[in-house]
């Protein structure tokens, strides 16, 4: 899952990015509205965290311009928590709204919900054979036993699970699993896929040669 954070407070931006990276997300950062809009239009993010009070282009304008081109889920983050601000944000096409200061766990839960809804799933639990993937807890069980996965492996599995039955291309995986600083098409992806196969069984992830991967 790849996220974009648009926030002009450098310290807040840094800590948010760190937290989300710890959660296994690939995170891109933008420090003002223009940069944010540019990146949001360039990449297919799974979600955008957008501050309202931004230099150059404020959050509402970024959202308006983004919505003319893309349906990327957007969570507005702002210190202005008057009802009319929330109404305006939601009316302008934001998918969720969170006031600063916020609880970290709430932000994470809202982001998970946004991403899940965007992929068309209503539930947090995905069952594939004897494997149970809990998207909320980031945990995977095989035959009732917990399987230890790294954050990145977990996100890979979740992305495939959310696109279950569909072929996911390597480019798609690169775009959604790695942020702008590490998106060289290395063999990092193959390493993660083979690690997941080792832990859950070789046939768990199918390889469609020349196309990508698929989860049945």
């Amino acid at each position: 899952m790849r996220l974009l954070i648009v926030e002009d407070e450098p310290d807040l931006l840094a800590s948010l990015a760190e937290i989300l990276r710890d959660e296994g997300y690939a995170v891109d950062e933008a420090a003002d509205g223009e940069e944010g809009l540019e990146k949001a239009l360039m990449w297919d993010y799974d979600a955008v965290v957008l501050d309202v009070m931004l230099p150059r282009l404020n959050g509402f304008e970024v959202l308006n311009r983004l919505r003319t081109r893309k349906k990327t889920p957007v969570l507005m983050l702002t210190a202005r928590n008057r009802p009319q601000d929330k109404v305006r944000g939601l009316d302008d096409g934001a998918d969720d709204y969170l006031a600063k200061p916020f609880e970290l766990t709430e932000l994470l839960a809202r982001l998970r919900a946004l991403i899940r809804r965007a992929s068309g799933n209503a539930e947090n639990i995905v069952r594939i054979g004897d494997v149970v993937i809990d998207l909320a807890a980031h945990s995977v069980h095989k035959a009732g036993q917990p399987v230890s996965l790294t954050a990145r492996e977990c996100i890979l599995l979740e992305y495939l699970a959310q696109h279950r039955g569909r072929v996911v291309t390597r480019t798609q995986l690169y775009d959604h699993l790695f942020d702008e600083n590490e998106s060289s098409l290395s063999n990092l992806l193959d390493v993660h896929v083979s690690n997941v196969r080792k832990k859950l069984g070789h046939d768990f992830i199918e390889t469609r040669r020349g196309l990508g991967y698929c989860l049945k």
């Binding site: 002009d8 407070e9 310290d11 710890d22 210190a79 202005r80 916020f102 970290l104």
Partner: protein
Amino acid sequence: MILPTTLRWRIQLWHSLLLLLVLVGFGLAAFRYQERNILNNLEKELRTRLDIIHAGMPVPRPGPRPEGPPGKDRPPPRDDDGPMFNLSAERAAFFQEAAGDSFYYQIWRRRGEPWARSGTAPKNIPLPARTTGLGLGFTDRERGDLREVFWFTPTGDALLVGKSAKEELAEIQRFGRTLVLLGSGIFFLALAIGWWITKLALRPVQVIAASARRIAAGHLEERIPIREQRSELGELSGVLNETFTNLESSFERQARFTADAAHELRTPVAIILSQAQAALLRERDPESYQRTLEACVKAARRLQQLTESLLELATHDAGALQLQLEPCDLAKLTQETADLMQPLLADQGMKFSCQLAFTPCLADANRIGQIMVNLLTNALHYNRPQGTIYLTTRCDQTEVVLSVRDEGEGIAPEHLEHIFDRFYRAEASRNRQFGGAGLGLAICQEIASAHGGQLGVTSTLGQGSEFTLRLPAKPSA
């Protein structure tokens, strides 16, 4: 919906009372006039007829008056009875005219014995009292419905003409009834018209009340629609609208200030929270904790600075600022501040250019120093690299002036008019790196006005800005 305490009801009540008074007064006057008129006419007719009777009386014969039974219409001639009274037919016709047989007459001889009477006369007409003696005047008398006029002839006979006034009284009554009917008609019509007129006249008041109610309910943008600019209510509406506009903008300023303050306060709190929570998520290396703590301290400092600024503004707003006024020289203060900041300036490759004349004034040196630090810091931040900051002081009879001019980019006119507003930042991104919340100049302005002076700014894009502090000169005592 409308209670009797409303203006409309009160106007209506007074209006009806007044109307009633006028109508009753006029009605009574008219009634009296008409009554008098009718009765006077009757009296006049009675007198005319009295004359007719008198003229028809035979000339009295001298000698003792005979006594005898009361005479009839045509009493039989008797020698000692004097000449017989005989009303000629034409006189009789004229006497009655077209009035039917309603007129009557009776004549008594000197001693009170009836002499002659008309056939229409009622029985038992009492002999009029001889009050006027042998006067020449007619006397009127009223007996029930009957109106009578009598007269004593010079020979001592009593002559009486009367008529039943039933018709006249009935006519007066009819007239009275008509008056009452007409009067109440006019009364109710006028009431209805009055009701309608007050409604028309008071409609603008209702419009004003409705608008005021909506405004009170929170629709601050609402205004009273004004139809007639120059009427009293139009004028009132205009004044009210102005008040509402002032109220609205004051509310807006307040709301904006609160929202801005909340925003500025929340952001550092959000940083501290998220940094600390991120650090607690898992074990980290010491450098990472160090970074987290540094970020937290930075945010806390920002909070501290902000709360102090807000507190200071609150002090100014409450008018509770205590100035420690003492004689001081603006030039000396400027020089001290400039010396303090010299190292910072040197780091940026900038320099001061001072033209400081002796400028005595009465001021709180600490507060004025605060303004100077603020102005010089701003000049430092916004000046072009290797630029010069020009410091000038001068004074005249009434005021001392400090001017701080930089050679930076200048400030756009649309920002310039808001530059002293609280939380106003010309460009968020640029100011953010200096950590300001946009309160510095607002506080400086408050300090200047607490001294009875003011802070001004002029700016030309591409050439730089000049901030001017004006304070009252020290009175030369």
